[in-house]
Amino acid sequence: MGAVESLLAGFGARVIATLAAIGRISIFAVRALLQLITPPFYGREIFNAFLSVGYYSLPVVGLTALFTGGALALQIYSGGARFNAEAVVPQIVAIGMVRELGPVLVGLMIAARVTSSIAAEIATMKVTEQIDALVTLSTKPMAYLVAPRVLAGLVMVPLLVGIGDIIGIMGGYLVGTGRLGFSETAYLSNTVDFLEMRDIVSSLAKGCAFGFIATLMGCYYGMGAGRGAQGVGRATKTSVVAAAVLILAANYVLTEAFFSA
């Protein structure tokens, strides 16, 4: 076989493998969603998942949003100065945070923090036969491990995005009023007047989608982990990369859906 042919064959094999993975992930996603509405429900597991996905992510989300909102205000001010548009800082910070940066940054932080920990935990359970033990104790891993985490992603991440949006705007406000000379009441009223319902709905919808993606990827790659410590490492890495890429792709699709013409 010639070099070109083997190159093409290698490429073709990659494409087929990717398509197969997409198929498997889709099936897993549907099963996970169906499991959300199928008993048994494990209250304690759900509570713990809500705590670790939602509550414990607050510091990371808050800090990320605060600094980003502040930096955004500075950038818009100096960029806007080139065509005498410094005054639009509050509006652009609001729209930038709520429509794009809030959901995307929170999504990516959740991928880093939550997806990795879910994948590592479930993968460790897999390689130490804890998943097998779960099954022999008549407990479905889908119901006990996956559903609570995915539910937490669907519910808590939009909340985190909402909080992130607000803190991001606060960051812009602090910089705008503290460093750039905006009046406090004008900054806030400009922000509030400018934002539309659609901006907020799209933000929360993105949060929902990204939370689903982040938790689902952690569960999927964790459950599929290979053997040994290497299997755990690989599952963790792949899940975070997959979650981050899918979040960015989904962000584009959702932006098209909400805002194109």
Partner: protein, 248 residues
Amino acid sequence: MIRLEDVHKSFGKKPVLRGVSLTVEKGSSTVIIGGSGTGKSVTLKCVLGLIQPDSGRIFVDGAQAKGGDRTEFLSRFGMLFQGAALFDSLPVWQNVAFRLLRGPDALPRPQARDKAIEKLARVGLGPEVADLFPAELSGGMQKRVGLARAIAADPEIIFFDEPTTGLDPIMAGVINDLIREIVTEMGATTMTITHDMSSVRAIADRVAMLHDGIIRWEGDIREMDTTSDAYVQQFIHGRAEGPIAAVR
């Protein structure tokens, strides 16, 4: 009664089970012996449905065990995993009481806890370990917690994968007696994997030797010492020379 008929299983290109056929009578204790890596654990996992055999059939009480929803099917089983496989996010007592705390016949927590402590006592562990986490226990203690979990719901069929490995001789004796008691007093059907010949003698009604992917020899425990099968003889006497290669 558990019956395996011509069960095959390969991992990739490597055949592990090459036609295992074995019958385990209700209320009896069968011990599976055989070299390391011959597929003993895989055999038990096939019966539980954790591993799908490539071909062959497995019956439990005459009904063929199939894929799909096994929750009901598995509620009759208890399993001690070779590596204990304790849930490290749960304290010891919740590991032991895992099944008791869930499902349609779930016990209230205080009662489940009492039952867990009672089962822990049977494997020689005091109530003070109940609130520890698995990571705080020694290997042998983890194994015994795994054993307590396997027997917690008084299942009809129990599999023990190397129950005495990693235990001191006295504790191994306690565990052997316990397994024997579960069979004779509670009428459970058990399959035990062990490398420990004193365990084999203490536990077994019947012995099956797995070698090269098939049941090489099967018989009553009383026939084990007198059989002329060279594989069994080499194995039970732990000789380096014989038909079983030392490098596998």
